[in-house]
């Protein structure tokens, strides 16, 4: 049974066999991966009926962070461009949702795609001048973006409510579904997460993904092979910003409040921590990264109220030391060792 599924999946992508030789590695899912994924999704759909509203709120935040982290991972993990400013796109997404709902009375469902499109455009435009900046210089330019956004938000206080922010109402479940606001937001962000992860996976395993990785690994060789580096780099910036913007809009709905100082430099750095901990250039990495940035600060606080960030720092160092390729890299390695070991002992 398993091998059947595996064969059909292999067959479906047979046309891409040649392409699969180059990175990113492993472009087709195996049967156990599909089964595992389905089990995970099924589990995630059952959780809301088991957990308290507060826990659901926490997991909703995990999904929201995971979307933002996938966005940043496209840029930094796959394309090698370091951004210290993704908190800014998250903020733009959040304010887009808040202003549309509060000032213009737009139904909240529209705000999430609009935030994504707006951030796509802003990210693409920001990506154009950023083309001239490499590595650390780009990091500094995005850092400047992160620094300026809270102040820009405060400046246009007619729209943004200044430093008071904007208070929203949490959306209730539509169509008379018998769900609480917490359950509905959980499913909404889970749904958006799944759609965006499918899209991201499709984007990254094909031509585009290969082009992004080629530019990261050797830009000169990539250009020599005919990859339009300028276009792909700006595109990566735009798509990355769009993901983060969608996450920001969802966070505004879940928290039901936006204020400029939420979207500070520290948020951007938290995102960077998330993708590195989760695993650079991996699709599952953002989930692990999101779990880390959501829960570890809380555990750190439970361990020591006097120095929570010192404890957090210790967690970070331990994670980096034990799992130098992030959680997803660690799991992949562990799985390979396990399968190799069992393959060796299995009688043929």
């Amino acid at each position: 049974m398993n091998s059947e599924i595996s064969e059909t999946v292999e067959a479906a992508s047979a046309g891409e066999v040649a392409a699969r030789v180059s990175a990113p590695p492993r472009v087709t899912p195996r049967a156990w991966e599909v089964a595992g994924l389905l089990a995970l999704i099924a589990g995630a759909c059952l959780l809301p009926f088991e957990l308290s509203g507060f826990r659901l709120f926490q997991f909703t935040q995990v999904f929201v962070y995971a979307i933002a982290l996938l966005g940043l991972n496209i840029l930094t993990g796959y394309n090698g461009q370091i951004s210290l400013g993704h908190g800014a796109f998250y903020g733009i997404g959040a304010y887009t949702a808040a202003i549309m709902i509060d000032r213009w009375g737009v139904p909240y469902g529209w705000t999430v795609p609009v935030a994504g499109v707006l951030c796509l455009v802003v990210g693409f435009l920001f990506g154009l001048p950023a083309l001239r900046l490499e590595g650390l210089y780009l990091a500094l330019a995005t850092f400047a973006l992160a620094l300026s956004v809270p102040q820009i938000l405060k400046h246009f206080d007619g729209w943004t409510g200044g430093s008071q922010g904007i208070v929203l109402s949490r959306p209730a479940a539509p169509l008379g579904l018998p769900l609480t606001a917490d359950q509905w937001l959980y499913f909404l962000s889970l749904g958006v997460l799944l759609v965006l992860f499918m899209l991201g996976w499709n984007l990254l395993r094909g031509r585009t993904g290969r082009a992004l990785v080629a530019i990261r690994d050797n830009p000169i060789a990539a250009e020599a092979m005919g990859v339009n580096a300028a276009l792909y780099k700006s595109l990566a910036f735009g798509v990355s910003a769009a993901y983060t913007g969608v996450a920001g809009a969802l966070s505004a709905l879940a928290i039901a409040f936006v204020a400029p100082d939420t979207f500070n430099v520290f948020l951007s750095i938290t995102f960077l921590v998330g993708i590195v901990i989760g695993g650079l250039a991996s699709i599952s990495g953002p989930i692990f990264g999101a779990l880390f940035i959501q829960f570890v600060p809380n555990y750190a606080q439970d361990i020591s109220k006097a120095a929570p960030w010192a404890i957090y720092g210790i967690f970070l160092i331990v994670f980096m030391y034990v799992m130098p390729y992030g959680v997803s890299g660690f799991l992949r390695l562990a799985w390979r060792r396990l399968t190799r070991a069992t393959a060796g002992t299995r009688p043929k």
Binding site: Q164, A256, F266
Partner: protein, 406 residues
């Protein structure tokens, strides 16, 4: 307590609990032996200087518990770090309300952070008491009947300077410098409300600055050139120092009204220069622990003993630690007044029913007063003039009672 009287107390408590029915059993966070109170504070992050308030309050509740608690109930004070980040505040407050099942929130700190949970607390109908911020919006018994502030608001303070001007400086030509955000605008609104019709005539210039500006020197020059003889200075310490220095350097000697955000002798007046700071006017409602006039005051001595025994790490020159001692005293008063009906509704009723409560570290004459239509506990302040060494209180206590929301 002897074993027999303890048993008696237990029986009495049980009978009382039964006699009251289980009216309060419906609300979580209270048992016959415990009251669970939730709080968030910025122990980390950009505003961690305020973290001492959370620690000081926890220390005070420890003292209360050591002395037997409130009506036999010990206080279980759960304080969590939100790093001054509104999303974290929402998460931590939901944990406190839904998971820890606290009876109510007390002294959650910060304006943006409290704004983030404002609607939630009122939807949940959980008391959101004595929030630690000077914004004016917390006194809204109609729209937000579960939320109440504590300290004098920025608008109250602005009104008090206005009253002083009207009474003592009829020929005032006022120049204002304020930070261009809610904090600055709140002060200016209170000041203009207080001046009333005279505002248009008296205020000759308003200058603003952004919190990110490197310097405010050009604003001071503009204010001098406007011919102002009264300077209302609404700035945080960094800019207050610059303003005092620059005014002296260019020979501008107005009557200088300095907001109490920046009236610290150590961090503002001394760095700006004692000579330049002489005769500046500001306001107080708590006893400044560095002021020698309280050396033999009983309230001050008790506070010193408390700091030594329960919060030895705390800075005894820090006015925040006086604040952290006084605000839980207000809460203890409310809880005692609740008697045995510790329902959330009754806690709000009693919090809105405080009459002339004077506390040991208030300046003499300052009192807490609330009513079902007045959710501004402290609306009095006293003016003080800096004599080159310390603040000298003068005049009578100004009262802005009932003048909010004009």
């Amino acid at each position: 307590m002897s074993p027999r009287s303890r048993a008696l107390a237990l029986v009495v408590t049980l009978c009382l609990a039964l006699a009251h029915g289980f009216s309060y059993a419906a609300d979580p966070g209270v048992t016959a032996t415990e009251i669970k109170i939730g709080n968030t504070n910025p122990y980390s992050g950009p505003a961690s200087v305020y973290g001492t308030i959370g620690k000081g309050i926890a220390a005070y509740f420890k003292k209360v518990n050591d002395e037997g608690g409130i009506n036999g109930r010990k206080i279980n004070f759960i304080t969590l770090d939100d790093g001054y980040s509104p999303p974290k505040t929402v998460e931590m407050v939901r944990r406190l309300v839904e998971q820890e099942q606290v009876l109510f929130l007390f002294q959650t700190l910060g304006t943006p952070t409290n704004t983030a949970i404002w609607k939630y607390m009122n939807d949940q109908q959980v008391p959101h008491l004595f929030v630690a911020t000077g914004a004016t919006k917390w006194g809204d018994p109609k729209g937000h009947p579960w939320t109440m502030g504590w300290q004098p608001t920025y608008q109250t303070e602005g009104q008090i300077y206005a009253q002083y001007v009207l009474k003592n400086l009829p020929d005032a030509r006022i120049g204002i410098l304020y930070q261009n955000d809610d904090y600055g605008k709140d002060y200016v609104k209170g000041f203009k409300d207080g001046l009333g019709d005279a505002a248009k005539k008296m205020i000759v210039m308003e200058q603003t600055h952004e919190v990110t500006d490197p310097t405010i020197e050009s604003q001071i020059v503009n204010l001098k050139n406007s011919g102002a003889n009264v300077f209302f200075n609404v700035t945080i310490p960094k800019f207050a120092v610059q303003a005092i220095k620059k005014a002296r350097d260019i020979g501008w000697k107005p009557v200088h009204l300095l907001n109490n955000v920046s009236n610290s002798v150590g961090t503002v007046l001394k760095p700006a220069g004692i000579d330049a700071s002489k005769d500046i006017i500001s306001t107080f409602y708590l006893k400044d622990p560095t002021d020698p006039q309280w050396k033999n005051d009983k309230g001050f001595k008790d506070w010193s003993a408390f700091m030594q025994k329960y919060y030895p790490d705390g800075n005894t020159a820090d006015l925040f630690n006086v604040y952290a001692y006084t605000v839980p005293q207000t809460l203890v008063h409310v809880l005692k007044q609740c008697g045995n009906d510790l329902s959330r509704a009754n806690i709000m009723r009693q919090a809105a029913n405080i009459k002339d409560l004077a506390l040991p570290m208030f300046l003499p004459g300052i009192k807490v007063n609330t009513s079902p239509t007045d959710f501004y506990p402290i609306e009095q302040l006293q003016l003080a003039r800096f004599d080159g060494e310390r603040w000298v209180l003068f005049g009578e206590i100004f009262d802005a009672g009932g003048k909010h929301g004009m």
